[in-house]
């Protein structure tokens, strides 16, 4: 019972935090995407200290990304309260309306949603991860201590769930 209460409290607290976060930075897919650059990347990371964060880099011009997007939608639904930021990495500038349309169709209307702030892709990528060669999809898992692990290509959602569970027990 206590455990249940704790979980419930945590869920509500996370929900509140999330709402607060969205109130400050309206970056949801159903509103205009937030511009992604080294400053907003730092803000995103700083605002999640102590809590796990998943950052998924994807593109409308990446077939593997588009095929996988609805799987991310199901994953997000299964893990409400888990913070996932979607960063569109179409280097020649995807239209915000098309990004919103794709995310909404995949059941990701409520996620934090970013679009490249400018075309200097090398510099933006350098800010995210010096070892990332720009392949998509690319996912960065940031744990409560700010330590990041990354993977390229489509996700193993079972492993992702395990990572989240492990993170929850750390909290």
């Amino acid at each position: 019972m206590t455990v249940l209460l704790q979980t419930l409290t945590r869920t509500i607290a996370t929900g509140l935090l999330l709402s607060l976060c969205f109130a400050i930075a309206p970056a949801r897919a159903d509103s205009a995407p937030q511009l992604f650059d080294s400053a907003s990347w730092k803000t995103l990371n700083d605002s999640h200290k102590g809590r796990p964060l998943i950052v998924h880099f994807w593109g409308l011009t990446c077939g593997n990304c588009m095929v996988e997007l609805s799987d991310w939608g199901r994953f997000a639904k299964k893990h409400p309260g888990v913070e996932i930021a979607f960063v569109n990495w179409d280097r020649r500038g995807a239209k915000p309306a098309r990004i919103a349309q794709a995310l909404t169709k995949a059941g990701l209307a409520g996620v934090q949603n970013y679009v490249l702030a400018n075309g200097f892709e090398e510099k933006l990528r350098f800010a995210v991860d010096r070892d990332w060669m720009g392949e998509l999809p690319f996912t960065r898992l940031i744990d409560g201590d700010g330590k990041a692990t990354t993977f390229s290509g489509t996700a193993d959602f079972k492993k992702l769930s395990q990572w989240l569970e492990a993170e929850k027990t750390r909290e």
Partner: protein, 408 residues
């Protein structure tokens, strides 16, 4: 490239990370402001990608995408001043703006010119088109689809063979769609090609040269001889390994056997968005460069083949691992092989150049030949009869054609 007076051009594609004009308009703004109105005109100054080729009369030609349209223009002074551009009619669908997409231009005999480009539909399928000119690029025909009966084509390359016929190759999804309709598995897409039926004619029906190629990278074409285009592309080998391969076409213009360029061991369901580059020297040596994302090799590599692509030299890594090296490009011209790629040091992007005077056996140390501190197109190499150049479009500096000297 081997001496082909009529293939004065770039047979290559390339890719592009990009330099959008939105970036220019946005430069210096606070990051959380809404994106300002993008640069909307069709001018070269608003272009995100530009592809060069030399015409038989020695003029430099460029084709670019800006304002959602494809334009072409020529320059008699190596890129300083361009003629009034010819802008092709607006396409029904938006142009492909993937990182490895760009329009191409090639010159043939009798003032014939072809321009090729791809559009994308709402389902992200590609539709490749070819527009032709028979008056040296002053006017172009209505663009025609590169093929029929195919739900998606991307990464088209077009080149004139010495006999005046156009060779086109692209990544095609007809067999993938057919397999899907039958509920059968099908990895990736396919490499398709078509030839003009006769010099000055139009493309014949397409043929699939190879099933199961990577679907998200540019392909490269160079000629080994008349009727012998060589295509380099990211193939999907057994076990889902996405490594590079070459196919040399025979004299009858039919695809020969597939040979592996390198054992990168790339088993990954990701879009590298970086296709290869291929050049063939006058001695027949194949020069290949590519981006590897494998378990054995990762980064940029170069290798050469002295036996028509059957075997390649041990891959030579390019650049420094921590400099985000990308977008390699190779050119063989006048007895020298030129290799260029991007390098990023945290604030500036530079184009590093290496040269070889012994058909790729030994190389000069890399040297930066151009630098920029904002968004840029991929570096492309192009040559006329006497000189090799770096062709580079950058947001800050605009279009540049930079003469290259062999290094020692």
């Amino acid at each position: 490239m081997r001496n082909h007076p009529s293939i004065i051009s770039l047979l290559v594609l390339s890719a592009l990370t990009g330099m959008s004009c939105a970036a220019r308009a946005h430069d210096g703004h606070m990051h959380h402001h809404p994106r300002p109105t993008a640069c909307q005109t069709t001018a070269l100054a608003c272009a995100s990608v530009a592809t060069p080729a030399f015409a038989p009369d020695g003029k430099l030609w460029l084709t670019w995408v800006a304002g959602g349209r494809v334009s072409v223009a020529s320059s008699a002074d190596l890129g300083k001043i361009f003629s009034s551009p010819v802008t092709l009619p607006k396409t029904k669908l938006q142009l492909d703006d993937g990182p490895d997409a760009r329009p191409k231009i090639a010159f043939g005999p009798d003032a014939r010119v072809v321009v090729a480009f791809t559009t994308r539909d709402d389902k992200y399928n590609g539709h490749a088109f070819i527009a032709r000119s028979s008056d040296g690029g002053r006017t172009f025909s209505k663009a025609s689809p590169i093929t029929t009966n195919s739900p998606s084509q991307r990464f088209e390359v077009v080149a004139f063979d010495r006999d005046g016929r156009v060779f086109a190759a692209w990544i095609d999804k007809r067999n993938a769609a057919a397999a899907k309709a039958e509920g059968k598995p099908y990895a990736g897409a396919a490499l398709a090609y078509a030839w003009d039926g006769k010099p000055g004619g139009t493309l014949e029906a397409a043929t699939i040269a190879r099933d199961n190629s990577c679907e998200c990278c540019r392909i490269a074409v160079a000629f080994a001889g008349i009727g012998e285009p060589v295509v380099m592309f990211r193939n999907i080998f057994d076990g889902g390994i996405r490594d590079h391969a070459v196919i040399t076409f025979s004299n009858a213009g039919k695809p020969g056997p597939l040979y592996r360029v390198s054992d990168d061991d790339a088993k990954i369901n990701a879009c590298p968005h970086q296709g290869p580059s291929l050049a063939i020297g006058s001695d027949g040596t194949y020069h290949a460069t590519w981006f590897a994302l494998g378990r054995k090799l990762k980064g940029l590599y170069y290798a050469h083949s002295e036996d028509g692509g059957k075997t390649f030299s041990t891959p030579m890594p390019l650049g420094s691992k921590d400099a985000q090296t990308s977008r390699p490009y190779v050119l063989a011209s006048g007895g020298t092989v030129y290799l260029a790629y991007k390098s990023f040091d945290g604030s500036e992007t530079s184009i590093e150049l290496m040269t070889s005077r012994d058909s790729g056996k030994t190389w000069s140390k890399p040297r930066a030949v151009a630098v920029t501190s904002d968004a840029s197109d991929h570096p492309l190499l192009v040559a006329n009869q006497t000189q090799a150049y770096l062709s580079w479009l950058t947001l800050k500096e605009g279009y540049r054609l930079i003469p290259l000297e062999p290094q020692s």
